[in-house]
Symmetry: C2
DNA sequence: GTGTGACTTGTAGTCCGTA
DNA sequence: CTACGGACTACAAGTCACA
């Protein structure tokens, strides 16, 4: 667990939704967290915590992940 | 100036585009950087550097800005 | 293959200015 | 009103061992 930061309920939901969306597209691509991590040049556990909505990811990393999933970053924010 | 970080050309362009998009919507809303900063609960100088593409903004703040501009965060990533 | 806690380092983000 | 600098503080980035 990370989440020392006190986010509002709305922000927590926002991050959770984002994580779920990433997971959704990842499984569509038939990728494990490990493989996505490798493709995005990020750490396996980092991807995991992002998917769980524990991280306030920056747009550069969001872009990296989107690229590895063959989608646009805006696709990942659609739920918001 | 901040920008010590060595981003790739692609990433720099990504951040610049994002900044320009924010500026575009901000002027559409007839807001100054100061007013947008106040509405988003962010710093005046921070908004400025984001618009100049000097910052790798996090998704929470992207969401805050989008909300203040009455648009969805995905609208801000359209160019990417 | 994934979840989690603990940790260090870099930078996101704040606040004071000047032009 | 905006760009930009210096000097901070808070937190994202990134890694690890172990369940």
């Amino acid at each position: 667990m990370r989440m020392k930061t006190a986010y509002s309920e709305e922000e927590k939901r926002f991050l959770r939704d984002l994580g779920n969306t990433i997971k959704h597209y990842r499984t569509l691509c038939d990728l494990s967290q490990e493989k996505l991590a490798f493709a995005s040049n990020l750490d396996r556990t980092y991807i995991g915590s992002v998917e769980r909505g524990e991280r306030n990811i920056s747009v550069i990393n969001l872009n990296k992940i989107a690229t590895s999933l063959n989608i646009k970053p805006s696709e990942l924010m659609k739920t918001a």
